[in-house]
Symmetry: C2
C-alpha cells in the first residue's frame, strides 16, 4: 500500500510536455512526434505509471474491461463459459471482471448497476434463471449487454444459447435406437428455460417414436447430484421401472448412476444413463458418461465476440445465436436388457 501514485501530470511535468500529450501517447493516438513519444514512453516506464481506471471511466474514456455476471463460480459449466469469455477478452486486450450474484436479487441488481456505470465497457450475463429480475438494472445499463446461457427473456439483448431441445432429441433417439422403451427423465430446475427445453425434447422425442410420455417417469432432480440420486431411486422403485434414464444435466446423471449401483444394478447392463452438458468430469466417471455436449467454451467466446462487435459498432450481431449440441456416446449406455 503506497500513498503517492504516479499520475498523468507527473509524467507530463517530468517529460516537459502537457498532460494531453502524455494521454495521447498512452492511448496510442496519432499526432505525436516520434521523439516526444519515445521520451514520454521512457518516463512512463521509469516511473511505473498506470492510468487510473476510474478517472478514465469518469472522463468518458473506456475502461478496457468487460464484466461477466454469474450466479456463482462453483458449477463447472459456468467456469467453462467464463473461460471462453476470458479467451476472447484477453485476445482483444481487454480484462474480464467476474461478478457473482449469489442468487441474491438486491445483490445482483446492485452489481449490474455498479458494473455498468464506469467499471466495464460491456456486460455478459450468464444467469440460467430469472434474468427478468434484472430487467430494470439492465435497461439502465450504460453499456452493451449480451446474454449467454441464460433463462429466456423478453429483453432486447443479443442472446447466445445452446440447442437444448435438439440435444434432448438426440439423447432420446440414441436410447430408443438401443431398444429402450421406458425412458425416465430427471428434470432440472423449473425456472430455467434450458431445463424446460430439454424436457420438451424428451417428450417430443418419445412422441415422434410413437411412444406416450408417462408422467410417472418424469422426476425432479434440481440439477444436483443428490437430486439425481433421489430421482433415480424413485424411478427404480416403480413397479415398471425404466431401462434407461436421461438426466437434464451431468451432475444429476452422476447421482443417478450412484443410485443404480446402490441398488446392485449395473450401468449400462441393467440401466442406461445419459447426461447433459459434458462437463470434464463426465469423461472421468465409471462408466464414462454418455452425454449431450453443450459447447460451453464456445458460448463464452461467441457471446464475447458479439459484445465486442456491439462495442466497436462493427461486425454482425446476431440477435439469437443458438449453438448446436452434440451427442457424445461413451460407456454409460447400452442395449435395452431383454425381459
Amino acid at each position: 500500500m503506497r500513498s503517492n501514485p504516479v499520475t498523468l501530470a507527473d509524467i507530463a511535468s517530468q517529460a516537459g510536455v502537457s498532460k494531453m500529450t502524455v494521454s495521447k501517447v498512452v492511448n496510442k493516438q496519432p499526432g505525436i512526434s516520434e521523439a516526444t513519444r519515445q521520451r514520454v514512453l521512457r518516463i512512463i516506464e521509469e516511473l511505473g505509471y498506470t492510468a487510473h481506471p476510474s478517472a478514465r471511466a469518469l472522463a468518458g474514456g473506456r475502461t478496457n474491461t468487460l464484466g461477466i455476471v454469474v450466479p456463482s463460480i462453483g458449477p463447472q459449466y459456468i467456469s467453462e463459459v467464463v473461460r471462453g469469455a476470458d479467451l476472447v477478452a484477453y485476445e482483444a486486450g481487454l480484462d474480464l471482471l467476474i461478478s457473482t450474484t449469489q442468487e441474491d436479487t438486491s445483490h445482483e441488481r446492485q452489481n449490474v448497476g455498479r458494473l455498468s456505470r464506469g467499471l466495464v465497457d460491456g456486460l455478459l450475463m450468464v444467469l440460467p434463471r430469472s434474468l427478468d429480475r434484472y430487467a430494470d438494472a439492465l435497461k439502465q445499463a450504460e453499456v452493451p449487454v449480451v446474454v449467454v446461457a441464460s433463462a429466456n427473456t423478453t429483453m432486447p439483448f443479443p442472446l447466445v444459447d445452446a440447442d437444448h431441445y435438439h440435444g434432448a432429441r438426440l439423447a432420446v433417439a440414441h436410447l430408443l435406437g438401443l431398444g429402450h422403451r421406458r425412458v425416465g427423465f430427471i428434470a432440472g430446475r423449473r425456472d430455467t428455460t434450458a431445463s424446460l427445453e430439454r424436457l420438451r425434447g424428451y417428450r417430443e422425442g418419445l412422441l415422434t417414436a410413437g411412444l406416450t410420455p408417462d408422467p410417472v417417469l418424469i422426476r425432479p432432480g434440481e440439477y444436483t447430484q443428490p437430486g439425481g440420486f433421489a430421482a433415480a431411486r424413485s424411478l427404480l422403485d416403480l413397479p415398471d421401472p425404466p431401462t434407461a434414464i436421461f438426466a437434464a444435466n451431468d451432475l444429476s446423471a452422476f447421482g443417478a448412476m450412484e443410485a443404480i449401483k446402490d441398488r446392485g444394478l449395473r450401468v449400462p447392463d441393467d440401466v442406461s444413463v445419459v447426461g447433459f452438458d459434458d462437463i470434464p468430469q463426465a469423461n472421468q466417471v465409471h462408466p464414462a458418461l454418455t452425454t449431450v455436449r453443450q459447447p460451453l467454451v464456445e458460448m463464452g467466446t461467441a457471446g464475447t465476440r458479439q459484445l465486442l462487435n456491439l462495442l466497436h459498432g462493427v461486425g454482425p450481431v446476431t440477435n439469437r445465436l443458438v449453438l448446436p449440441t452434440e451427442l457424445i456416446v461413451r460407456a454409460s449406455t447400452g442395449p435395452a436388457p431383454r425381459t
Copy 2:
C-alpha cells in the same frame, strides 16, 4: 444501454437541496433532518439513482468493493475459497470482484495494478504459485492486500494458509496405522509451497516411524487427474509396488483410483488411497475418498476478515494465519493386504 444516467445533481435539483445533502443521505451520514432524508430518498427511488462508482472512487471515497485475484476459476478448491470470501464481503456490505490471471504474467500484473487503482478497496490474492511475480505490482498497490492459499513469499502481507505439513503427517500416520509400510506419494507442482510442504510431511511421517523414504515411491502428479493416473500406474509397475498411495490433492487421487481399478486391483482391498483438499467430489466418488481436509471456505472468510480489519484499521491482523487441516476417513483406505 441508455444515455442519460441519473446523477447526484439530478436528485439534488429535483429535491431542491444541494448535492452534498443528497450525498450525505446516500452515504447514511448524520446531520440530515428526517424530513429531508425522506424526501431525498423518495426521489432517489423514483428516478432510480445509483452512485457512479468511478466518480466515487476518484473523489477519494471508497468503492465498497473487494477484489480477489485467482489464476482461474476452474479448480474446485478455488471456488470454495472465493465462496468464503464472498460470504464475508457480502455480510459487510461489500461486493466482490473476481479477476483471473490465466497464469499470464503481464496480464496479471496489469490486473493487480488496475484493480488497486480505484476499482477495489482491498485485494485478496489466491495464487498457489509464483506470487513473487507480482511483487512490483503489489508493492505499488494502493490498497491493503491479504494473501490466501498462495505460494510462500517474502512480501510483507498478511498470509492465510492451511497446515499442509501437518495434514500430510496425519495422512501418513493413518496409513501406517493401517499396517502399510510401502506408501507411494504423488506429488503436486514443484512451484507450489503447498506441494512441497505436503511432501515434507510425507517424508518426515515415514522417518518418524523409522521408515526410510524411498525416492522411487515419489512420482510427479501435477495436481491433475491424468497426472495422478500416470503416477499411480508407474508406481504399480514397480517390482515392489506400494500398498498405499498418498496423493498431494484429490484430483490426482481420483486418477490414482482409476489406475488401480484399471489394473484389476481394488480400492482399498489391494491399494489404499488418500487425497488432499476434500473437494465436494471427494465424497461422491466410489469408494468415497479418504482425504485431508483443507478448510477452504474458512480460508476465504478468514482472509477477507483480515482484509476488513486492515481496511477499517481495527481488529487484530495476524501476519501468518495457518488454519488446521483434518483427516477425513472414508472408504478408500483399509488395512494393508497380507503378503
